[in-house]
């Protein structure tokens, strides 16, 4: 009967309108409701005992706070511990985080790990150290090979493009030190009047290294030094400070610390190539969140190195880079 159908229709309409009114008066949930499922990110660092990695961790934490991610940090005790880090990495893999951010201590030893991670469908974001033994979702870091070339150019300038060159490396320099050294050596080929006098490898014992370098300064005629990591740079500059030599030895180094900056200001070295670990950590976590949400991330995010010398180190822009605000 048409009349009855009409009535049913009217009743439905009334119900709809009442429910609309009720829903309009109920306070709406704010859009910022936390996802019931937080993204879990595991960050495996080279070491904890290093300012560089501490700043990277700070940057990562900052990004995690903004992005509603659960972040856990792992690291071996020192940056030369490849076995230890690998063990940590494998056990982290078994806990099935959504994304792993990895600053690897070595390249080849991690190839199996990368394959396993791929099988588990866990994306790996390489940070600071480039991994070539397998595929990673992306790499955030510097082009260390090019940096090595730039370092060579820099020291060549100070050396007047002639003289004896000393390369000071770090045993546990990992992937970056290797790349930088290769860059330096490549670029060295362009300077036929510069000879590579010697290559020294420092351990984490700065004192011991410094003594070795001092001996080299005093007994061999060195005009320029390229130090590839923090410790070698520190050792080279300290060695120079303690040596009273007539000829000037120019030093170009990598990374920074308060001590290094102090030495730079004193003139014990000429140039420092400085990275930005805070931003690296921040961006790594941001990308991890994106990829966990199924979005595309760039394959390679280059972090440029900044050339710091005693003149520009107190420019406001560089102050911000070199001296982290301690909260």
């Amino acid at each position: 009967m048409r009349g009855k159908r009409n009535m049913v229709f009217m009743i439905i309409l009334v119900v709809i309108s009442i429910s609309l009114i009720v829903s309009a008066f109920m306070p709406t949930e704010p859009k910022l409701t936390a996802n019931p499922e937080k993204i879990s990110i595991a960050v495996i660092m080279r070491t904890i005992n290093d300012d560089y990695w501490r700043y990277l961790q700070r940057g990562a934490d900052s990004a995690a706070r903004d992005s509603n991610a659960q972040i856990t940090f792992y690291a071996p005790d020192f940056d030369g511990d490849i076995e230890g880090q690998l063990k940590i990495a494998n056990s982290v893999l078994e806990s099935f985080p959504d994304v792993i951010i990895l600053g690897a201590n070595a390249d080849e030893p991690f190839s199996e790990f990368l394959v396993k991670a791929n099988n588990y469908r866990i994306p790996i974001i390489a940070v600071d150290s480039l991994l070539t033994s397998g595929t990673t979702a992306s790499y955030i870091g510097s082009n260390n090979f090019a940096a090595g070339q730039q370092a060579m150019d820099e020291i060549a300038q100070f050396m007047g493009e002639k003289g004896n060159l000393l390369i000071v490396n770090y045993t546990f320099g990992g992937i970056n030190a290797k790349l930088r050294k290769t860059g330096v050596l490549e670029q060295l080929k362009l300077y036929d009047q510069i000879q590579l006098a010697r290559t020294i490898e420092c351990s984490s014992e700065v004192e011991h290294c410094k003594d070795t370098i001092k001996w080299v300064y005093e007994n061999e005629s060195i005009d320029g030094v390229v130090a590839l990591m923090t410790n070698p740079t520190l050792a080279s500059a300290l060695a120079l400070k303690e040596t009273q030599l007539e000829q000037s030895i120019h030093i170009v180094g990598f990374d920074s610390s308060n001590a290094l900056l102090e030495l730079l200001q004193e003139g014990q070295m000429q140039t420092l190539f400085v990275q930005n670990p805070f931003t690296q950590g921040y961006l790594a976590v941001k990308q991890a969140v994106e990829i966990a949400g199924g979005k595309l991330i760039p394959n390679y995010t280059e972090m440029p190195m900044t050339k710091i010398n005693s003149e520009n180190m107190f420019w406001l822009q560089n102050q911000k880079l070199l001296f982290p605000v301690v909260n």
Binding site: M10, L13, V14, I16, S17, I18, L20, I21, S23, A24, F25, P27, T28, P30, K31, L32, R58, G59, S62, N258, A259, L261, E262, Q265, E266, G267, N276, F278, T279, Y282, L283, F314, L316, Q319, K320, L321, L322, F323, P324, V325, V326, N327
Partner: protein, 586 residues
Amino acid sequence: MNRPSIQFILTVTFSLFSLIIIVIVGVLLTTQFLNSSRENVSRNAQQIINQVSYNLEDYIKTTTNLYHMLHHTIEHSDSITQNDELWKLESMLSTRSDIVSMTLVNTQGKPYMALPNVKLKETVKLNEEAWFKSAIERDGYLSISIPHVQNLYAEQFEWVVSLSKTVTFLDNGRQVEGVLLLDVNFNRIQELSERVSLGKNGYVYIIEESAGNMVFHPELELVYAGLKDENVELALRQTYGSYIDESGTEPVLISIQSISNVGWKVVGISHLSELNLSSDQFLFAFLKILVALTILLFVIAHVISSQISKPIRKLEVTMRGIERGEFNVQASGGGPLEIKNLADRYNNMLSTIRNLMERIVNEQESKRKYELDALQAQINPHFLYNTLNTVVRMISKQRNDDAITMITALSRLFRISLSRGQSIVTVAEEVEHVKNYLIIQQMRFKNKFEFEIEVEEDILQYSSLKLILQPIVENALEHGIEPSVDSGMIKISGYKTEKDMIVLSISDNGLGMSEEQVEQINKQIYSSKKGSGVGLKNVNERIKLYFGIQYGLSIQSEIEEGTTVSMMFPAQQIDRGEEQQNERKT
């Protein structure tokens, strides 16, 4: 063109009208509410910012005061290197947790004193530092720097704000001109700025006006790393007030307050969505209510209008019965008052129609009956018998001409009487009929009377009822002429009045009637002494039936003088065809 129904018109009009009103009122209220809420929130945020700003001003003032105290002490001490002097200064400094260091240098930048008493680095050229240059430039006035990294102590690179001013002091009796530097860190500033409640995610930052450098920000690292942006341009453009900024990912409320003397501004950021004031949310809720009310109103309008239109429709359905010839179905009077009245009127109309129809039927029946009676009377055997007898006598006396006249008149008489069954004839035919009758009767009565027929020529073609003149003449002969001794005269006249009425009158000069008799007859109670009683009553009734009640017979009479019977009916052109059809129907 389809006409809209009452229900449609009512529903649509009502709904539309209500909708318009709701929208207007709703929009007005909403904008009012939103505006005043926004104002409230702005005011609230502004007050908070003002408070922070006052606190900061206070802090800067106390710090500046401390500076001036130090400045004063140094300028008025006999020798600044004396221990108790140092102790005095040190105790002043120790009251504050945010003081990093105090340094006194001469105009060449050579340090004289530093507290805490830590060795300054040798590599630094103090007279090239910004705080130094600014103090010298603004000789005698206090300079407050933007945040920068302190470059005084070995391996110590702390972020500080520097207060510096030129100073004159005594060193071993010699007057030295120099600059007094006080370095302060962010601790207090941070404390003051953090204790702010601008919603769950709101915060305060401080910006320096001249170059837009950030003095303090809760996420200063991110800002320095270029990873976080603030809409600094807006903050720099305005000195005071609250503004909505939609340039970022979310709309935010920016509240600004300038701190005098320092060239700093306090900026507060509140997230509008938290304060539930993003107009989108509100508009959405309003829209829901609007839709809901519209639906409700629509339903109400529909229900109300159906209360009106349903009974009307029911009435209409009932009325359709007439088309099928059902005059007996009553309409039910449900629904509102007007509908009930309508139904009652309709029912009355129906019963009136029924009565009229009954009357018509009755009238038709009467017509037939009277006609039949007249006709029957016509074919009165006595009349025929007598007439034929007269003819036989005439023939036996060889009065052939008279016989022919009589037979001819008789045949003419009967032909018109029958008139193929029609009730309407022309006046001419009716006159002819009565003439033939008179001819016959005159011969029978042996010329006892004379007759005259004077009928206007122009009424001859009008219609007349059949057999109306002859019965009157018969009456006149019977009651007026025959009893009278004298010879009689019957005069028949006919004319048309100005009002298009036809008047036919039959006058005789016979006995006449008394007034009482006339009265009786006029009351149409006619009882005849002889004959079939057709006569006057029949003719009268028939005239009334055919032409209307207002027409008919009238009688005038005087005893011994005579009687005139007149009949009146409207002049109508004859329409034989219609009449034939009507004959077939009944």
